[in-house]
Amino acid sequence: MSVQAYGAAGVPEIDSAPTQEVVWHHRHLLDVDALTWPEIELIMRTTDEMKGILARPIRKVPALNGRRVTTLFYEASTRTRVSFETAARNLSADVVSISTATSSVTKGESLVDTIRTLEALGAEILVMRHSVSGAPYLAAEVFGGHVLNGGDGWHAHPTQALLDLYTMRQHLPGGDLRGRKVAIVGDILHSRVARSNIWSLTAAGADLWLCGPATLLRGMDRWATAWGDGAIPGHGRFHVTSDVEVAVRDADVVMALRIQRERMQGGLLPSLREYAARFGLNAERVSLAKPEAIVMHPGPMNEGVEIAPDVAVSGRAVITEQVANGVAVRMALLYLLAGAHETGRPHDAHSGEAIR
């Protein structure tokens, strides 16, 4: 039985999470691998509420009034940074924005020193983007507040995976991904978006297919093989193929990933033209998917390379919805993280994330 209790401390105890409901206990969000499915659903429900706020005449609530959110971007990414900062401002947080071009980072200051400085300056929630995989884990070790990973190296981009999941649920009956075919086509090897999506979509029960040229799929087959059915608690299997038609056929969701020019200099691709011809999402390939299938892209797009311009603007494309949902998901995560306090909880099974 759950009842409302009015305590004596002078604060109204508004129904702090009854025991039968999932409780948010993560101090940091570094990847989706640390999340249980009920926790992901809590993020989705909280995102629903944030969408409600975004639909109001006044798109701002005082939830994080006076809390200090700092964005620390070691890689240029205007869209992700603006999305986080919009989310923080919608919650009335104070936002400090630091990018490598404008900080002592360019003077060779170490990440650890930078983070200690930001903490001394009052940062409470640190949103971080870094080109080296695992860098946010180092940040979380030294930072006294909360770290929210805005993308690290090839490793993880948890807010992108969660906004992708949210967008897919909006378009699927009952918001249920179980058995739904999701094809992700592109440069899987170098993609933190793909890696985080592997964790979240296999948790959601989707029939996930990763597709790209063999050079950009390295290591993925080994991973997919290791994750046979039931191998990893809470996660299903996924598939890897270099045949784009196999990946896209009868898919409910088709997602293209950005192909970067550097891949050709690295000897991984003959040319962008050849990539577009063999793997680009054009109308013909998308027509192999289910009639009601949606087309996604985490942006920024190279139209004419990984996605044809007519596909990008077609009725199936939900790319601008992804951007809008990104603000709501990031609001939800900022809100949830801000309330996670020390509970002495031991390590999580996956990433070793602890409340410390």
Binding site: V3, Q4, Y6, D15, I53, Y335, G339, T343
Partner: protein, 188 residues
């Protein structure tokens, strides 16, 4: 710790009916009136107030639910973020007289949050407040327009309102605050 019952289900029902009459009387009718319950137990109470008004006035008033989570000023003090229960205001607030309904009025902070939240959705003509229990100890200059029962309490006591829709029973109880080290059983 044993909780003492201070209202029975029947007493709750009578209090709701009385409040519903008071609301109509104070407003001199039902025109432009809307009832909004504060999540969580204020919502079923608001529905009952509206049902009682419908019974004796023959008018179905718009009823809404207000979640004040994002407006709380104590988010950094609670152990975990409260679960958001959702806001649903299926009518235009502008020009309406909104009667906020909650179960217990204590420090007044919840009501302040609720008013903040409400004005983000529009500009009501007036906001009134109806509560089932007023237990005193206000920390803000807030007063209820309609009260089911005034209950003098100490700060160490806990007042619990149980409603069928949420708790599966109907009563109001009063008990003592747990001290550190006491078993938590019975609190939930």
């Amino acid at each position: 710790m044993t909780d003492r019952q201070i209202m029975t289900g029947e007493e709750i029902r009578r209090a709701i009916v009385r409040i519903s009459h008071e609301i109509v009387e104070k407003h001199a009718g039902t025109d432009g009136l809307a009832i909004v319950g504060i999540q969580r137990r204020g919502v079923p109470l608001a529905k009952r107030v509206a049902a009682a008004i419908e019974e004796h006035e023959g008018v179905r008033l718009p009823v809404g639910a207000l979640d004040i989570t994002f407006y709380r000023d104590d988010l950094s003090l609670v152990a975990q973020q409260p679960i958001v229960k959702g806001t649903d205001l299926p009518f235009d607030l502008n020009g309406t007289t909104v009667v906020l309904v909650d179960d217990v009025l204590y420090t007044g902070r919840t009501i302040r949050c609720a008013m903040d939240a409400l004005v983000d959705f529009g500009r009501p003509r007036a906001i009134r407040l109806a509560v089932l229990i007023d237990r005193g100890h206000r920390e803000l200059p807030i007063r209820a327009d309609h009260v089911g029962k005034n209950v003098p309490t100490s700060r160490e006591e806990i007042v619990k309102v149980h409603v069928e829709e949420v708790d599966g029973s109907e009563e109001v109880t009063i008990g003592r605050q747990l001290r550190a080290g006491e078993p938590a059983a019975g609190r939930q």
